[in-house]
């Protein structure tokens, strides 16, 4: 079962089948992603307005930053779900694992928002992802979204105020960087082209 409800213990070889992803908590995400890749974009669901009392060490800005990151992660999750069926077997297998890890990131961010005294908004009903015509298009889309996430985290992490929250966000950044490396490899590009990950490729 894959859900974004919260952090899970690390595991090796995710092995989550598409069927498993399409059941339970993953079903809504899968439906949204698949529809949108086909171009049927819709308006995002507006989350309820929540008034929360912030702990003294956490600023409202932190919650906004984490919520923005969550939204990007959810978009990437939708892209993986929608794009995996278009990929050949080996990249699809890797992408399924990356999807599972992206879901873990959403859970982590929700947990961070909650711990910071905030309330994660519900995910959108749909995301505009374009119409990748083939596997190469899907890989390009995933590469673009992962790179966007990296750029966002690099901008966001220095603005987060508690150090441990910064470090926690960095544990997501590292994995997104690894995803980009593997996507580049699959695309026939240099896997690690620079000494510094900047999200500006």
């Amino acid at each position: 079962m894959v859900s974004e409800s919260g952090p899970r213990p690390p595991r090796r070889g995710a092995g989550s089948s598409r069927r498993a992803l399409l059941t339970g908590a993953g079903a809504g995400l899968a439906g949204a992603g698949a529809l949108l890749l086909g171009g049927c974009g819709g308006a995002a669901t507006a989350g309820p307005t929540t008034t929360v009392e912030l702990p003294p060490t956490v600023s409202r800005q932190d919650i906004e930053i984490l919520t923005e990151a969550l939204e990007l992660e959810r978009r990437t999750v939708a892209a993986y779900i929608a794009g995996i069926p278009l990929l050949p077997r080996a990249p699809a297998h890797a992408a399924r694992q990356f999807l599972s890890e992206e879901l873990e990131h959403t859970g982590e961010l929700i947990s961070l928002i909650k711990t910071s005294g905030g309330h994660a908004p519900p995910r959108a009903n749909s995301y505009q992802l374009g119409r990748p015509p083939d596997a190469a298009g899907v890989l390009k889309l995933l590469h673009t979204l992962e790179t966007m996430q990296i750029a966002t985290y690099l901008q966001a992490i220095p603005r987060l105020s508690p150090g441990p929250t910064r470090a926690a966000a960095a544990t997501i950044l590292t994995v997104d960087s690894q995803h980009v490396t593997m996507l580049r490899l699959t695309q026939g590009q240099a896997a690690v082209p620079s000494a510094f990950v900047t999200g500006s490729e």
Partner: protein, 196 residues
């Protein structure tokens, strides 16, 4: 599960015990915050120097397959760039640049001190070398993770993130060189915080 999550422990305070992916039980100790920035930078430079020493040693030892050699060769320049960037920050804060390992014996002592398995000079092939480099990369990632809990300067935080992410990319490429050599085995965890 009724206990606090790893993240809640992290938020709750720097003394929280963390379970690192895979094997290590790590702790961001209560004294982390008390390490002055120049000292934190000096430690990072020292660790990067050890990592660079290991890459150079392994690449010159002729024990790598051609594929592994091709993969690892660019990482040397990456580690050099990390060192230069950190040294600039360190000297700007009045810190003294540490010396690189004086030789194999010194590097091995440092590896042992950091609980990295394997010793330079005793590596029996590709896999031994890659495992040693992989663990050293993970220790380096862990050092940046700890540093991020305490650094306050925005530029330093961004630099630490950029390098930490690059080391994680190295980690993934090293993982790909180990059996079964598949992408999903090279990126096995959803959260990477390294080893402390």
């Amino acid at each position: 599960m009724n206990g606090p999550t790893r993240r809640e422990l992290l938020i709750a305070g720097a003394g929280a015990a963390l379970i690192a992916p895979g094997t290590a039980q790590a702790a961001v100790g209560p004294h982390s915050a008390s390490v002055p920035v120049p000292e934190r930078l000096r430690r990072l430079v020292q660790l990067e120097m050890l990592l660079l020493f290991c890459y150079r040693y392994v690449l010159h030892s002729s024990i790598l397959s051609r594929r592994a050699e091709r993969t690892l060769q660019p990482f040397v320049a990456h580690e050099e760039a990390h060192i230069h960037a950190l040294e600039r920050q360190l000297t700007a804060r009045g810190g003294r640049i540490p010396s690189p390992p004086a030789g194999v014996a010194a590097a091995n002592r440092d590896l042992a001190h950091r609980k990295v398995g394997g010793r330079l000079g005793q590596l029996r092939g590709d896999l031994d070398a890659i495992r040693l480099l992989l663990t050293t990369e993970q220790v380096t990632i862990g050092a940046y993770f700890v540093a991020l809990t305490t650094l306050q300067d925005s530029d330093l935080i961004e630099l630490a993130c950029q390098i930490m992410a690059n080391e994680a990319q190295h980690d993934a490429m090293l993982g790909l060189l180990l059996p079964p050599g598949k992408i999903q085995a090279a990126v096995p965890y959803g959260l990477v915080q390294g080893l402390q």
